[in-house]
Amino acid sequence: MKLLEGKELYYKYRKDYVLEDVNFKLNSGDFFAITGPNGGGKSTLVKNILGILSPTKGSIDISFEVKNGIDIGYVPQNTNINLEFPITVLDVVMMGNGAKHKSINRVFSFKYSSLEIECAKHSLQKVGMDCFLNSKISNLSGGQRQRVMIARAICSHPKLLILDEPTSSIDVQGQKEIYSLLKKLNETITIVVVTHDLTVISKYANRVLYINRSGYMHDLSNKNFALKDNEHICEVELMQMLGANNG
């Protein structure tokens, strides 16, 4: 079932096009990887899908209603987050839930209702972090923090989960754990991940979208493209394979 489709998508920042004629289609249950060089437009595409940015030309059709990001879970790059912020794991996860339970407990909004806490616990259980509910987020490792961000993103039971370079600041072991977790979550949620890690693409993704700065785009969603398990590739090899598929 088609979940999302981008048609002839253009996005212009000031005078330059960051996205040019991007086409892609995403089906329910996909593990969809978006890759390409820095400045290639990956994050811009994600922001267009999320509705943070609007395409200059073209369209993105979403097969479900999106309101306040509820049906799309999002894990941002988090480059601007203050790592020393005094905040608990529960507080962070509740940010993903807040819009759904906005009417609850508004009078004294420091406290969460038992329903809200249960919901947060449930999300944390899915990422194996439920025992850290009241921990301060700055006391967690990079991998643990990213798991909490994923719990926040899935707290509202979204149909689609988008992660923007989720393992960029995590050690190798942590990266493996995050992707294993995502593969498990993929059993019930469609996943889009922006990544530079081509090994990840080969192991986990069933579809790949390659975007580069000048807007060259390879949509492989209908080309039966999947890299074998345990196959390690470099970008040149990936491009050759993409070229072979397109040719």
Binding site: G69, N80, I81, P86, V92, M95, G98, A99, F110
Partner: protein
């Protein structure tokens, strides 16, 4: 010492210390977690322009300082939306231009105004009933703002991009935080003066941040610490007949150094 409590000016000073500490504890926490200390410094110093203008025109000083501080806060907010990367240049500009306007208007005012020094270094012992009403009103506004919008404020402060995605008007809350910061700076100027105001906004909040698990915990601790520092500083300044603003800041700084030392020693001893 207890007999001094019968004096109205001391009672006013203690009440002002409590009200301003609650305001700066809460707003200072928001300034700290949003990394807006330099920005608050810019607003504080630019408000000198309002003080100078108010003296020149014969208007209430708080009114002039408040209008100028709010204007600076909104201007900085609008610039930061457009020029986020280089907003520091504009903050520095607003900081200096505000001070320059203040100096020029004071020059143009006939005669030397001795009260002006109290706005540079604070004059908590000169707080009057109107000042207390202003402080109390602002405290009620700040408490209401936090009470009604705590989750939104927390979301915007922690991850504004994500909050925006979830339908929270991040820019609106950013402007609201800045405007309240501007007003908090104006009332804090009465206690410690604009030269020292940033220390009052940051020292208690930094200690609270290091020892809190949540933003509201940080706000409560910062308010309590600020009250202790302000009243202790006031008592020392009375006892030794020294400037109250400087005394308050030195008490705060001494406590901060002791706290950091204690924290460091605790970390070292916990290894053994």
């Amino acid at each position: 010492m207890a007999d001094i409590l019968q004096y109205t000016f001391i009672q006013n000073a203690l009440l002002a210390a409590l009200l301003v500490s609650i305001i700066t504890g809460i707003i200072g926490s928001l300034i700290s977690v949003n990394k807006m200390t330099f920005l608050a410094g810019g607003i504080a110093h630019s408000s000198y322009g309002g003080i100078g203008l108010a003296i020149y025109l014969g208007l209430p000083i708080f009114l002039g300082a408040s209008i100028f501080a709010i204007f600076s806060a909104v201007l900085i907010a609008l610039i930061s939306f457009k020029q986020r990367e280089r907003v520091d240049i504009f903050i520095g500009l607003i900081w200096a231009v505000g001070m320059a306007i203040g100096i020029i208007f004071v020059d143009l005012t006939s005669g030397y105004n001795v009260d002006l020094m109290s706005y540079l270094f604070g004059s908590i012992l000169a707080v009057n009933r109107d000042d207390l009403i202003f402080m109390f009103t602002l405290m009620v506004i700040v408490l209401l703002f936090i009470h009604l919008f705590y989750r939104e404020i927390l979301a915007v402060s922690y991850d504004s991009e994500y909050a925006n995605l979830r339908g929270v008007k991040a820019k609106g809350f950013f402007v609201a935080i800045l405007v309240l910061s501007a007003l908090a700076v104006v009332v804090a100027i009465k206690v410690v003066g604009l030269i020292l105001v940033i220390a009052l906004m940051t020292i208690p909040t930094y200690i609270a941040e290091l020892s809190s698990n949540s933003l509201y915990g940080m706000m409560i601790k910062a308010s309590v610490l600020s009250t202790i520092f302000t009243i202790s500083g006031l008592a020392i300044s009375y006892e030794f007949d020294i400037t109250s603003g400087a005394s308050i800041i030195l008490v705060s700084a001494t406590f901060l150094i002791l706290f950091l030392l204690f924290k460091k020693i605790s970390t070292i001893t916990s290894r053994f």
